[in-house]
């Protein structure tokens, strides 16, 4: 290639008149007017009561409520993801009992609305006064063998204390999340090339090992973005805990101040700002996690590596294709 002599002069670089976009200017003008109207509304309407909002949106109970919201979000997601992985693996298992059980679980928890589920969990205390753990059906079994009031219980707790708002709400959110996570994880596992399973099997790796070391790390690339969405949705769904009720949670506290002072609207705006801020933090976190799990993929990194290689070898890089 280098031997081919180019003795023709290089033509002049093209300096063409760029295409004009008049409609962009029209759109900008229209949006500017709308933005001006919105700002005018925010500034001129005194129902917003900005000073009241600012004075109250960082009250200690509200900051405490934000903390509870974050804790419940994190706990519900951790339980949801772990349980979701278990259910997804069960669903894809060759054991028909496990896979039907997993199907039944996802069916139930996806079919019932989260709000209904939370109210239901909040009222579970109606079923029992005490929760006791031990041998199941101990009284019935005792009666069968002629023993009256056989008691094979290890410990018990008061149902109303145990199923407090916090625990009931957390369970409701986590169990319903697990159903959605199971579907996401299943999609992730199924997106993996069957060749990966075969290569692992041919190396003598067990199915569990293959899943842990080969399949799930790759599936993470598919699993992480929707999980980020789920986490953000979860953070927002903690506001449903008002109906359990969980009283020390962010939205409950914000609307409580609104109700107490008859200034509902400023506190609703405060709720918007709080959720906006919390969600934005999560989005930044999601960005970094996604970048980590896409290592070994991606055109950006690849291009950068190629360039580095080119530099290192002074253009003597082998150009080989054929990579899928």
């Amino acid at each position: 290639m280098a031997d081919v002599k180019l003795d023709r002069a290089r033509p002049e670089t093209i300096r063409a008149v760029p295409v004009r976009h008049p409609w962009r200017w029209v759109t900008i003008a229209a949006l500017a007017v709308l933005a001006a109207m919105f700002i005018h509304l925010l500034v001129s309407n005194d129902r917003f009561d900005w000073s009241f909002m600012l004075d109250n949106m960082f009250n200690p109970p509200i900051v405490e409520g934000a903390r509870t919201t974050i804790i419940i979000t994190v706990l519900a997601m951790v339980i949801g993801v772990v349980l979701g992985v278990v259910i997804a693996v069960m669903r894809l298992s060759t054991n028909p009992i496990l896979s039907s059980a997993a199907w039944l679980y996802t069916w139930f928890f996806r079919a019932v609305p989260r709000l209904v589920l939370l109210v239901l969990f909040g009222n579970l205390g109606i079923l029992w006064e005490r929760l006791e753990f031990g041998l199941p059906f101990d009284r019935q079994l005792g009666a069968l063998f002629g023993i009256h009031d056989l008691d094979a219980r290890i410990f018990g707790v008061d149902a109303r204390t145990f199923l407090s708002g916090f625990v009931a709400g957390l369970l409701g959110l986590a169990l319903s999340e697990a159903a959605y996570m199971a579907e996401i994880v299943r999609a992730g596992i199924q997106s993996i090339d069957p060749g990966q399973f075969e290569a692992s099997a041919a190396l003598g790796m067990s199915r569990g090992l293959t899943l842990r070391r080969v399949v799930l790390p790759q599936a993470m690339r598919v699993i992480v973005p929707p999980t980020g969405n789920e986490t953000i949705a979860m953070l927002k769904d903690t506001s449903l805990l008002v109906f359990v009720p969980v009283t020390n949670e962010l939205f409950f506290q914000l609307s409580a101040i609104g109700a107490r002072t008859f200034r509902v609207f400023p506190m609703l705006v405060a709720a918007c700002l709080w959720y906006l801020a919390l969600t934005s933090v999560l989005m930044v976190g999601q960005h970094f996690i996604e970048r980590y799990f896409s290592r070994g993929y991606g055109t950006q990194q690849r291009a950068r590596m190629r360039l580095r290689g080119l530099e290192a070898e002074h253009g003597a890089v082998e150009i080989e294709g054929g990579t899928p």
């Binding site: 290569a199 003598g204 790796m205 199915r207 790759q218 070994g296 993929y297 054929g322 990579t323």
Partner: protein, 265 residues
């Protein structure tokens, strides 16, 4: 070193691979219709045939990636996939099958490297997790096998930064790291650009020279002639012709073999 005279006296115990009347069906479709094969230790056996002839399926039966429907396969004297107790065959547990596979290396047409691991990590994974080798010695060995296939400088490179030929050589190194007694190659050069085939074939020749027992499903007739100790032509689920490569290629006895060879040569 692999003459027909020698084959007659072989017993199962001094063969590396013995297949006896292997059948395989997918539903009502019978893909293998009674395959017999004997491969001695150190032998390179090449399998050719048109696509759909069942050669890949047969190869996958040898390490139990596919369950045979009828017949038996032994590798180094061990029955693959089943245990014989009295006159009954018992299916092996997953763990036992995995143990058998540890000593059978396999190289796939589409490489199947683990894309989230570097070349060295790909090679080290099974020795560390399956053989329980220490990380330090696995690493040492990984560098050694990668160097052997000519990739000593690509140790820390991810598969997608490697060419197809380099990826396939990493795949060979990955199989070698488990110190297999048998290597199965499933059309190892079919997914490669023509100019990259040579490096992979060189790595395989090097292995053959070192006395590795190999079964190679391939379209590279040149490789079969040069490196192979025996050549098998399969068509429509049966072995049509078998013998020393030069002989089969030069004077095929069957019309089907001749017409296939005419197309690929």
């Amino acid at each position: 070193m692999t003459d027909a005279a020698n084959a007659g006296g072989s017993t199962a115990s001094d063969l590396m691979v013995r297949a006896d009347n292997v059948h395989k069906s997918f539903g009502s479709l019978e893909v293998l219709k009674g395959i017999d094969l004997e491969v001695r230790p150190g032998e390179v056996c090449c399998v050719i045939g048109p696509s759909g002839s069942g050669k890949s399926t047969f190869l996958r039966c040898i390490n139990h990636l596919e369950k045979v429907t009828a017949g038996r396969i032994w590798v180094d004297g061990d029955l693959i996939g089943y245990r014989e107790r009295g006159d009954k065959l018992h299916e092996m547990r997953e763990r036992e099958v995995a143990a058998q596979r540890q000593s059978i290396g396999m190289v796939f047409q589409r490489f199947n490297l683990f894309p989230h691991m570097t070349a060295a990590e790909n090679v080290m994974e099974a020795p560390i997790r399956v053989r329980r080798v220490s990380k330090a010695s696995a690493q040492q060995r990984a560098v050694a096998v990668l160097r052997r296939v000519g990739l000593g400088d690509k140790v820390d490179t991810y598969p997608n930064q490697l060419s197809g030929g380099q990826q396939q050589r990493v795949a060979i190194a990955r199989a070698l790291a488990m110190e297999p007694k048998l290597m199965l190659f499933d059309e190892p050069t079919s997914a490669l650009d023509p100019e990259l085939v040579g490096d992979v074939l060189d790595a395989m020749k090097d292995l053959a020279r070192d006395g590795m027992t190999m079964i190679v499903v391939t379209h590279e007739i040149g490789f079969a002639r040069e490196v192979g100790d025996s050549l098998i032509f399969m068509d429509d689920g049966v072995v049509v012709e078998a013998g020393p490569p030069r002989e089969v290629i030069a004077n095929a006895r069957h019309e089907r073999t001749r017409s296939f060879l005419a197309k690929v040569l």
